[in-house]
């Protein structure tokens, strides 16, 4: 599972690199770029603030960008890439085959912030087993529509996506241990589950002048299931969709 943690920054980096290269004008007119790339507006703002504080470079709203040296431009790009790693959301989710409660951070990206990636850590109490367990979830959301409901609220009529959940403990294995003959439990990992979900969300936007900790607060619900259950349903018609789906609810705090 360590590979998940390590692949995370690499993934984000590659996405951000792609975005940076898609804006060729960045070197010449920083201010305009900031306005035109809606997906990274906030990130770029933060860079400007930081630069002012540190007095290291003078990337600000000054119109004369020709004063920037190559080194300063490089520093600016470097900061912008790493800034992409700052999580923009905090997520808390109840249920959903990832423990009773999961808490974590999230990143949103895309021209309309329609993609989200969450990294969640969950707690699974012992129930009838011998001990409690921790889980980790890597979740990819897609939000195709965001409909405004007045100026203070908006509704996302569909969210969907996929998440990989891993559970920690000696009881579980990712790949078949060597004690088994080859392909003994074919296609099975007891450690990693692939889940799919669909749901809806409702967002309350905090007005600009009253923002303290967050931009908006979203409540969501999801209907989800996992690969093992889907296989059970496909294998036998006595298992219905109703038997294999579960409900989960959660909150998303958009911090920036």
């Amino acid at each position: 599972m360590k590979s998940f943690i390590f692949s995370m920054p690499i993934l984000i980096m590659s996405v951000s690199t792609a975005m940076a290269t898609s804006v060729p004008s960045v070197e010449y007119n920083v201010t305009e770029t900031t306005e035109s790339v809606s997906g990274v507006t906030m990130t770029t703002d933060t860079i400007t603030d930081k630069n002012n504080e540190n007095n290291e470079t003078t990337v600000n709203s000054s119109t004369d960008n020709s004063a920037l040296t190559n080194y300063e431009r490089r520093v600016y790009r470097y900061r912008r890439l790493w800034n992409f790693l700052i999580p923009t959301q905090t997520v808390i989710q109840y249920a959903g085959n990832m423990g009773v409660v999961s808490v974590g951070m999230g990143w949103d990206y895309g021209n309309h912030r329609q993609y989200e990636t969450n990294l969640l850590f969950g707690y699974l109490p012992r129930f009838n087993s011998s001990r409690a367990k921790m889980t980790m979830t890597f979740k990819q959301n897609f939000v195709p529509w965001r409909l405004p409901a007045g100026s203070k609220f908006n509704v996302e009529p569909l969210t969907c996506g996929i998440y990989f959940n891993t559970v920690f403990g000696h009881e579980f294995w990712g790949r078949e241990p060597k004690r088994y003959p080859d392909k003994y439990y074919e296609f099975l990992s007891t450690k990693v589950r692939i889940n799919v979900f669909a749901g809806q969300r409702f967002t309350a936007i905090v007005p600009h002048n009253r923002r303290k900790f967050m931009k908006s607060l979203t409540i969501f619900y999801e209907i989800s299931t996992c690969d093992i259950y889907l296989r059970a349903m496909l294998q036998d018609n006595k298992i219905s969709l109703w038997d294999i789906v579960g409900l989960s609810i959660g909150l998303k705090l958009q911090t920036m």
């Binding site: 959903g96 990832m98 989800s224 006595k238």
Partner: protein, 266 residues
């Protein structure tokens, strides 16, 4: 905000009825626990003075819920059956939900049943679910002066580190309650010389099997097909019970003169 409170309280009520899934291996379930010991006391009570027994042996019902339902309906239609022995592999992946799905179906049996643990039932936290839902992995009971010894033989699941099969337990069972039984039947999931058995002790195992008083026969599951074989050429027959998707099971009739069996197709 008021609506939110109402919504959340609805959700917490719904949570109690199992709408929320915490994890496939959460070992969280309501309903009957310790099924084997409950059913064993029923079997011992019902069959105490019986001179002839009719026992249905089923096995490997994992994943085939429709076939399992039909099999249960078929067993229920036989008026003579005294009890049912499930040879293990109740689940495919050992998830708690699969255990519940199987338990809810097996509960439709009119007669009591006991279930052994199969290798698939060990996966993840499956062994823990089995222990809470069914009980001990090695167990025995006496019905009509016949002792049924049910053994956990899934050694590969322990990487051969555990005492599986437990020869000490077998030795204990040779003499335990010896006044109450004259004959014995041994049930297991994986039989000797299959990949799940600890074949290092296969011969020692058979030595202990042979020492059971009045041994009639052995029954196993795991191989998903009908097997009638004298594995050691010593007169002891191992009957392999087909899996549920083969739509057949074994019905044994044990009288004081011996036993007969029938392969039932449903």
């Amino acid at each position: 905000m008021n609506r939110l409170t109402i919504f959340l309280s609805c959700m917490s009520i719904a949570g109690c009825s199992g709408v929320f899934d915490y994890h496939p291996y959460d070992v969280r379930f309501d309903g009957e626990k310790d099924i084997n010991s409950h059913n064993i006391s029923r079997i011992e009570e019902d069959c105490r003075d019986k001179e002839s027994l009719t026992v249905a042996f089923i096995s490997d019902s994992h994943g085939w819920y429709g076939d399992t339902e039909d099999m249960i309906a078929d067993i229920n239609s036989h008026p003579d059956v005294d009890f049912v022995v499930h040879g293990g592999d109740l689940t495919d992946c050992g998830t708690t939900k699969e255990y519940i799905w199987q338990r809810d179906r097996l509960a439709r049996l009119k007669v009591p049943y006991v279930a052994l643990i199969g290798n698939h039932d060990f996966l993840g936290t499956g062994n823990e679910t089995y222990s809470v839902m069914y009980g001990k992995m090695d167990f025995s009971f006496i019905a009509g002066r016949i002792k049924f010894v049910c053994l956990n033989t899934n050694a590969t699941e322990y990487d051969y580190l555990a005492a599986v099969p437990n020869l000490d337990y077998m030795e204990e069972q040779h003499t335990a309650d010896s006044a109450l039984f004259d004959r014995s039947v041994v049930c297991m999931h994986a039989r000797p010389y299959c990949e799940q058995f600890n074949n290092n002790v296969a011969k020692a195992f058979q030595l202990y099997i042979r020492t059971f008083p009045g041994l009639l026969f052995c029954v196993n599951g795991h191989d998903h097909c009908l097997q009638i074989e004298e594995i050691y050429d010593d007169g002891i027959i191992y009957y392999g019970v087909p899996s549920a998707n083969r739509r057949s099971y074994l019905l044994f009739n044990i009288t004081k003169d011996g036993y007969t069996y029938e392969v039932i197709h449903f």
